[in-house]
Amino acid sequence: MMYADDGAQPMAPLLEIENLRVTFDGEDGEVTAVNGVTLSVGQGETVALVGESGCGKSMTALSVLRLVPAPLGAIRGGSVRFAGEELLMKTVEQMQEIRGRDIAMIFQEPMTSLNPVFTCGDQIMEAITRHRVVSKREAREQAVEMLRLVGIPMPERRLYEYPHQLSGGMRQRVMIGMALCCAPKLLIADEPTTALDVTIQAQILDLLRTLKRKIGMAILLITHDLGIVAEVAERVVIMYAGEVVEEAPVRSLFKKPAHPYTRGLLGSVPKLDRKEEELKTIPGNVPSLKSMPSGCRFHPRCPNARSLCAKAAPALLEIGEGQRVACWLYGLPSDREGVETL
């Protein structure tokens, strides 16, 4: 349960993804990239979406904006509600309105959303005027203000520069500035610092935290870096092979991780504060979409697997304050048969 600051009123979730399914048409038939994902982001909340590459983080995020690459990819089921409204039922025009104004997205590589042939100023001003009626002069002033807000020195001059004239960190700032210029209620950030050096990453994370405080927007942060999760997220959703396997408040996740996959992930990060002879590992590899294991998709790599795990898929089950886990270690299947095998 999420509560507002006063601790009494339950916060209405801003974003509710329920049972989302995304598929791709491949050479050898259809594969399911996102398999029944359910997650929510509260007003002003920062939620981290974590998992190894290919587990479906980006497709989940793109589904919210209805940007799953067609025609091969498609949303096949489920529901995505934003401020109570079903986004999967919106028209293309309505979605264009929502993108940028209510929900903005930033990517790992800023050049995917910056146009190389327009100046930074033109692009930010375009983003401002797309959703609001303002004069050219106002738009320019707001663009300068936005560049200042995201920490770009000499913003008046930067307006006239092209993306390629900026460093990677500066481009990422411009993209964040563009994403924020209509004060969206939700920012989806897909690995926003993965391509950056660690000192620049620290600047960008600091910027996101500051902006969040100032603007009060919610953030869905996609990352594979558990260090970043610990630093910025309030709640964490862990994905494995297209499914959510655990969800927890950030402190619970790090202090008492429940899913064997979550434990494995935490164990395999080299520790900075102590010396380990050998790193803990998760044996094997992430399964390919074409050959998903039966039952719990993690079972072939799981140190705790039992015979039931290969037979039936466990559902997400609440095991503590806001902590949910999909693993047979924490709950028995409803059918009697499984009980003996566990």
Binding site: E52, T199, I200, L226, E231, V250, R251
Partner: protein, 324 residues
């Protein structure tokens, strides 16, 4: 054993400058100082980590050492033998002793060759063994890096990133090198796979006394695997010391900022973060004085004019900073 004979590789005042096609306002060609006078040594059987932000010259340093590129100046010696000025025949011999593995194993593996051919290629190039013997030795290498035997006849695209890195490692080990330069070997891998490959590298080192130069911008991996670590900034080494000392009490302000920027996977850690302003400027316009002075929070007048000397500040902990 005395310190001298313990040294496998010695690098002295290594420089690699690139002359760019762009001209300065005075009509001279611009020079990019990718590596600008660095010195260090590698002890037999140790792992020396090399860290620093992208573009600071780590890869260039690694490639100069294994002679993939020609240094502009400086000395490199392997077991006391000059590597830079050696005759072509000797260089061929020396190359066998030094191998390099790269971040993206895919681009360095020929997609049309089977894993068996890839791993056996060094034997073919150096005419070392053939036929059944080669096959046996390649299979032994495939075993050693933890791949299954049937990998022999399969192609790189059939493998995951971590497995491809194992193929790259197997090939690097074929000729029993003394030194392996590892350029971001785990940076492209997921954490769980990264841990597998790091464990493999440590195990191989224990088995055959390998020496690693481990280049990475991923500081926690470097901390885990390295006995000593060097920190580069704009083509220069700014600090080098034992891993524990460097991480717990860095002497250079850049190292301090770098360490404090690492996100820690523990929500209860509260610490003061040293946020650096701006980013590293191009090394083709070297600022006068200390290369780091523009971003340094301890900057003094002297830092802008005079380059700080590279000195041993005690117990083999080197740094170049006017504060020390």
């Amino acid at each position: 054993m005395n310190q001298e004979s313990d040294v496998l590789l010695e690098v002295r005042d290594l420089k690699k400058h690139y002359v760019l096609s762009k001209r300065t306002v005075f009509g001279r060609r611009e020079v990019l100082r990718a590596v600008d006078g660095i010195s260090f040594s590698l002890r037999r059987g140790e792992t020396l980590g090399l860290v620093g932000e992208s573009g600071c010259g780590k890869t260039t340093t690694g490639k100069c050492i294994v002679r993939l590129i020609e240094p502009t100046s400086g000395q490199i010696s392997l077991e006391g033998e000059d590597v830079v000025g050696a005759s072509p025949d000797r260089i061929r011999e020396i190359r066998k002793q030094m191998q390099i593995i790269f971040q993206d194993p895919y681009s360095s593996l020929n997609p049309r060759m089977t894993v068996g051919q890839i791993v056996g290629e060094p034997f073919a190039i150096h005419g070392i063994c053939a036929g059944k013997e080669r096959r046996q030795r390649v299979e032994a290498l495939i075993d050693r890096v933890g791949l299954t035997r049937d990998s022999y006849t399969r192609f790189p695209h059939e493998f995951s990133g971590g497995q491809r890195q194992r193929v790259g490692i197997a090939r690097a080990l074929a000729l029993n090198p003394k030194l392996v330069v590892c350029d971001e070997p785990v940076s492209a891998l997921d954490v769980s796979i990264q841990a597998q490959v790091l464990n493999l590298m440590v195990q191989l080192q224990k088995e055959s006394g390998l020496t690693y130069l481990f280049i990475s911008h991923g500081l926690s991996a470097v901390k885990h695997i390295s006995r000593r670590v060097g920190v580069m900034y704009l083509g220069k080494l700014v600090e080098l010391g034992e891993t524990e000392a460097l991480f717990s009490s860095p002497l250079h302000p850049y190292t301090e900022a770098l360490m404090s920027a690492i996100p820690r996977p523990d929500p209860d850690i509260v610490r003061e973060r040293v946020l650096l302003e701006g980013d590293a400027t191009d090394s083709n316009h070297p600022p006068s004085g200390c290369p780091f002075h523009a971003r340094c929070r301890y900057r003094m007048a002297v830092c802008e004019n005079e380059e700080p000397a590279w000195r041993d500040l005690g117990g083999g902990h080197f740094a170049a900073c006017h504060l020390r």
